[in-house]
Symmetry: C2
């Protein structure tokens, strides 16, 4: 049984490799044709997709899935329309593959430069969000990578239906449908085997909970792009603008709580005045925020509870945050160094020196001055789309868009040169 699952995945790996070679050698126009056919296929199969999604939804309700998760699982006409729009958006973006750059002539006459090329075979392990099936597929195709999808059992009917529809679109465009495949096995074992598909999977991207991501990072034998855990900080410096501080705190903490770029921790310089705490307490009341406060800040926030050390390391993803009063910018930077997940951290300051020090010394994928961490997003950064936010240092940091799904090769053009 286990062996046959491994065989099956290796077979999928081979098909994905083959399709990736096709993809690496077709034109931008051909890729956009495939995407256009996928769009048509989505339009033509709305009813089918919705019916399959209904099966997942009914099962999930029976199993008392939490409201937030149910909402992520749900597809409806409007959401499929928005998926269709997202295909259009990807079509409109520049082809990230085939860009030649850094060309120069060496003293010996060799012409040398780089060309962007696809990574090869991508794989994604995700949970109960059907739209990830489409996002992953169209980003992969546009960047000339094939992709193997492995969704959570809660979304298997929806995702299988979507992939069927996507593959039918690819076939209608006259290309190899195996550029997109989904594993129709949602046991833990299929996930483990995918993580070990060395020689076939060039990059594995886990999307979902911290537990899922840690398990992939821990067990994978194939290269992994670590995404998404965000313990984001806002530090209010002594030279703060009150309005900016409160507005950015409110936006970061409350505009959308379940996302990785939401604020989880507030650091406040000891000289920050009571007007800030007055405003903060109003927001705490307005959103019924649960507060984990240090010994000094607890006195300023009625209803706050005493923060334990581990509370500063938490990604709450809830109407909840930790707060600490610090003696200096340096203490804030040290605290962030220790507790941040190195995703996005922000300073509120009118002082140019503080801003520069924060920018230079905070070692996170995105470092903000006087703006909300909620902007860490491929769309907001102007990349059109993203497959996740990288919190690792290798290959890509921050939003992973089409460019980050490519690599490069060196091209060396000679006239018979040999090495001396």
């Amino acid at each position: 049984m286990e062996q046959s699952l491994r065989d099956k995945l290796q077979e999928m790996g081979k098909l994905a490799k083959k399709a990736s070679r096709t993809l690496a050698n077709i034109s931008s126009e051909e890729k956009n044709l495939i995407l256009a056919k996928i769009k048509e296929s989505l339009k033509d199969n709305k009813t089918y997709i919705l019916e399959e999604n209904k099966k997942d939804m009914e099962k999930a309700k029976k199993e008392l899935m939490a409201q937030g998760l149910l909402d992520r699982l749900l597809l409806n006409e409007a959401r499929i329309d928005s998926m269709i729009l997202s295909v259009d958006k990807i079509i409109s973006l520049d082809d990230p593959v085939g860009r030649m750059f850094d060309f120069r002539t060496l003293e010996n006459g060799l012409i040398i430069g780089k060309k962007t090329v696809p990574i090869g075979v991508l794989a994604m392990i995700y949970e109960a969000r059907p739209n990830v099936s489409l996002d992953g597929s169209i980003l992969a195709i546009k960047s000339s990578n094939s992709i193997i999808l492995r969704c959570g059992k809660e979304a298997i009917n929806s995702c299988t239906a979507l992939v069927k529809v996507i593959r039918s679109g690819i076939e209608k465009a006259g290309f190899d449908k195996n550029m997109v495949q989904i594993i129709n096995d949602t046991t833990r074992q299929s996930s483990i085997e995918l993580m070990k598909l060395k020689g076939y999977v060039d990059l594995l991207i886990p999307r979902g909970s911290k537990g899922l991501i840690n398990s992939v990072v821990e067990n994978a034998k194939v290269p992994v792009l670590e995404t998404g855990v965000g313990n984001c900080h806002l530090y209010v410096d002594k030279d703060y603008d009150l309005d900016k501080a409160l507005r950015i705190f409110e936006n970061g903490k409350t505009q959308r709580i379940g996302v990785c770029n939401a604020l989880e921790s507030l650091l406040v310089h000891k000289d920050v005045k009571d007007d800030f705490y007055d405003g903060l307490n109003k927001l705490i009341g307005k959103y019924k925020l649960k507060v984990h406060a240090c010994e000094r800040s607890i006195k300023k926030i009625p209803g706050a509870i005493k923060a334990r050390d581990e509370d500063y390391g938490k990604e709450y993803l809830a109407y909840e945050f930790s707060i600490k009063i610090v003696d200096s910018l340096e203490e804030a930077i040290d605290h962030i160094y220790q507790y941040s997940s190195h995703h996005s951290d922000a300073i509120i300051t009118e002082n140019i020196e503080s801003a520069q020090k924060f920018i230079n010394q905070v070692d996170s994928a995105c470092v903000y001055v006087n703006a909300s961490t909620r902007f860490t997003d491929g769309q907001e950064f102007g990349y059109g789309a993203e497959i996740g936010i990288s919190t690792q240092k290798l290959h890509a940091r921050g939003p992973v868009g089409l460019n980050e799904l490519t690599t490069y090769k060196y091209i060396v053009l000679g006239q018979g040169q040999v090495r001396k």
Copy 2:
């Protein structure tokens, strides 16, 4: 015992992290001062280094180490002078850290861009080449990374001496000597523990034999940069220039046999004429090359032996190569796709279409037209120095120089913007 080794490595990890924070925040001038003091320290301690190297050499001779390895282990006055020159070279290169790029203003007024930053803590596992201790250390310092070294037992006295000398230079410059550390334990266990030093090691670079590299890729829990295995191909197209073909084959196969960018396999179009084989046979005679030939080519090469399938996948690192006659450029590309280690592959052709097809479809770190694969080297590519040749697709491909030892962070400058 095992626990205490783990504790010791974690302690080294902590010291390396601390030193990396210092390094991330010092100026180019300060880094060059450190390098200058390392240079002085090398000059002042030649005798000590040579004495310690003598211990390794005597032990190695007693244990009957092969001549090639002995030569790699040996230090002498001239080699230390050349090490000193290499420090000068690194001093003269541009600082790869702190470069701001891709800055632009979004519609909402946010200014966003990237800044190059160090990776953090590097680690290297290598075998019996003392000079790697110095190369790794000075490349790490110049790119603001700290480094933990783990050398093979054959070179432990030489490497420990070199690291002592390097650390004394760092101290004389007034900085934290823990930016360079060496593990004084050469058991297999110390290597395994280093591969698992998660949270401390940001990038592990194995340098050495295929066995070492595979073991690191297989066992590491920290991010790895896969380097160096090179099964490099030369394909002689039907429209070939005889002189270029023979000259580049000779250079690739024989100029230096023990290196990853040496040629290991020759593919020849079926229409290539006998003049090529005449020249090839002369070279085979001149260098006493052992030839593994396909059914067709064996008839043209007296003394060749029949190639088995696995002979095409081998990195010989010897006066030995495999040869195959192919029916077409496409067959050559397919063969390379199957057998290449995706390091460096070359075509000999006067035909622009063949050149373009080869460039586009061969998926290797470096793709050559009419030039020797021996050029794949940081020095030759004009980067001044390298820590190895990456054969993986993520992060960096080809020569890994100072730029590839950095990553980037996004900097976002706002005036109070929040997300809608």
